[in-house]
Amino acid sequence: MNSVEIKKLDLHFGSVEVLNDLNLEIEKGEFLVLLGSSGCGKSTLLNCIAGLLEITNGQIFIEGKNVTWSEPSERGIGMVFQSYALYPQMTVEGNLSFGLKNAKLPKDEIQKRVARAAEILQIESLLKRKPSALSGGQRQRVAIGRALVRDVDVFLFDEPLSNLDAKLRADLRIEIKQLHQKLHNTMIYVTHDQIEAMTLADRIAIMKGGKILQLASPDVIYNKPKVKYVAEFIGSPTMNFLKGSISSNQFSSSLCDFALDGYSSDQLNFSGNAILGVRAEHISSGDSASLSQVQLNGSVELLEPLGSDTLARVNVDGSLFWVRLDGQSKVSLNQELAIGFGTENIHLFDAVSEQRI
């Protein structure tokens, strides 16, 4: 039995289709990330699962139960919000116990759950404080705690780290991952940050325009993107693209022509306009470029030294390629640089449908 199942979900606001025929199956204990840019529908989908938004069509099942018409508090979920949404006039302890008191749970049960959550999140010393006296990271932990005490199977996270600064984000990301490893609950996590997605997810669902473009593990998403949008969205720096055409198993473009043996294709015998994609780290440079199947010559336009690597933007006859160089390499600005890549590391997309070839 899946932990969460979504069948044929539609959501219309008036005439605007926000979510369209969405289907999703999430396994027990899975950490699923809904990833996409603003307006893709990821938060909307999460709110539908939570029961905070009413759907137009379809069904939602949580732990085998049809919760399509159930109130949020009856769905067996806990939710963590971007702005934490802690009750400002109550102490941390009050925040954690408010919902439980409302459900008329016995006092010792409430105490037990609060203590357990406080221990897991290490907020025991903060119990008597009010939210205004807490730091951002502490507030977020309390928000997670509020979901924890509900003793539920499914946790929902709505961009919980977006309000924090970079360092705090990195720290809390690790804490959330550790939490998942400890509790083994199903977690559905919404974010626009691909790093969060890649590091936390068991599977990522990349969304655009209310649809799921690809649902797969981070590894597959990164190495076998199904559509150009996914390939472009994941990976930093962005994947390099080159326009061209394919016929008789050959790729031709203004810069290069080469045979496509060695490329594992999804669509055999494709012919037509295509877009070639290759990641910065899959482009060799300098001497090693001479060993590559495809070789190009360009000049270095821009250098971004990151310490561990250096990113170089190479101009090849007007087309720009980002190339990842070793941090210690001695490449300089305006230098002529040979670059190259092979068919085993490229991605090809139909120029019209943007589907993987």
Binding site: G51, P72, A85, P88, Q89, N102
Partner: protein, 309 residues
């Protein structure tokens, strides 16, 4: 103003720091009305009135010191005592009711009702009208011949009696009804603005926690709205103390003196009673009442720092 602009230009290009007094000269000149008003009218006028309340002024102000005599007389005058009592009844009830009504209306409208604009327009329009108009309208609505009483009687309830304005004991409540009609819209608008300022995610969190709507309002939202409540409280109180036109229009202070209020007492004493001293003393008392509410609020709101906003 050409030469003034030139002046500022020179100031910008000037190497040494310009004389403090002449900096922002134009701004200071432009603010003269404000400074004059603040000093002479607000501070000066108030001090003047307070000072003269200790004198034996009759038809004209006379600088003859009599200490607290005017105040003694004031507090021995039945008309004043009735006025104060009325203000207390009107004030306390008005405050309570206008908040309850205003908040409930705001909460109802906040439920994303349809026709929100229509409801708001209807509830707020009385505020756009003069107190005189309001007073007259309710003078007629409460008229036993053809107002509410006669309507209810027409519906069959023959013994229904509702003419507060003819009954000395409860006339002030008739004024209260009119005041509520006029003022609830304002409170509703302010409360609604406050409600809209509440983070939507708090509502979501409460729903996930399973907290029923009414409880969320009571235990989460209202505590969060404390600043709005306090501001509204101060505004309404300041308005209540000033109530004058409403009384004049609706009841002229009657029947008898049963709807007298301090503001009317002051006006009557000053301009028809030829008793300025009493008028000054009474208005000083009014000032005191307002001060009791406003000063603690100001201290709370602005603490020790004098910065605004």
């Amino acid at each position: 103003m050409g030469w003034l602009i030139l002046d500022t230009k020179n100031e910008i290009m000037d190497q040494k720091r310009p004389n403090q007094l002449f900096r922002n000269k134009t701004a200071k000149i432009a603010a003269i009305p404000m400074i004059l008003t603040a000093l002479f009218v607000f501070v000066g006028g108030t001090i003047w009135t307070i000072t003269y309340s200790f004198t034996k002024s009759g038809l004209l102000p006379k600088l003859k010191w009599v200490g607290l005599k005017q105040y003694d007389r004031l507090w021995a005058t039945k008309k004043w005592l009735v006025a104060i009592e009325n203000l207390a009844i009107y004030g306390i009830l008005m405050l309570l009711l206008v908040f309850i009504i205003g908040f409930i209306l705001a909460a109802l409208i906040d439920q994303k009702v349809r026709f929100e604009n229509t409801f708001r327009t209807i509830i707020l329009y009385p505020y756009a009208m003069s107190f005189v108009v309001t007073g007259l309208i309710w003078q007629w609505m409460l008229n036993p011949e053809f107002g509410v009483q006669s309507i209810v009687r027409d519906f069959g309830w023959k013994s229904f009696s509702f003419d507060p304005l003819y009954n000395s004991d409860i006339a002030i409540y008739g004024v209260l009804i009119a005041g509520l009609w006029q003022g609830s819209g304002l409170v509703m608008v302010l409360m609604l603005a406050g409600l809209r300022g509440i983070d939507q995610e708090i509502w979501k969190a409460a729903r996930i926690d399973g907290i029923p709507t009414w409880k969320t309002y009571l235990m989460v939202v209202i505590p969060m709205m404390r600043p709005v409540f306090i501001t509204t409280l101060v505004l309404v109180t300041a308005g209540i103390v000033k109530v004058y036109d409403l009384i004049v229009a609706q009841t002229s202070g009657g029947p008898g003196i049963s709807t007298e209020v301090p503001a009317k007492y002051v006006y009557d004493a000053m301009f028809s009673g030829q008793n300025l001293g009493q008028g000054f003393a009474a208005s000083t008392m009014m000032l005191l009442t307002v001060a009791i509410v406003v000063i603690p609020w100001a201290l709370l709101e602005f603490g020790g720092d004098k910065k605004h906003g």
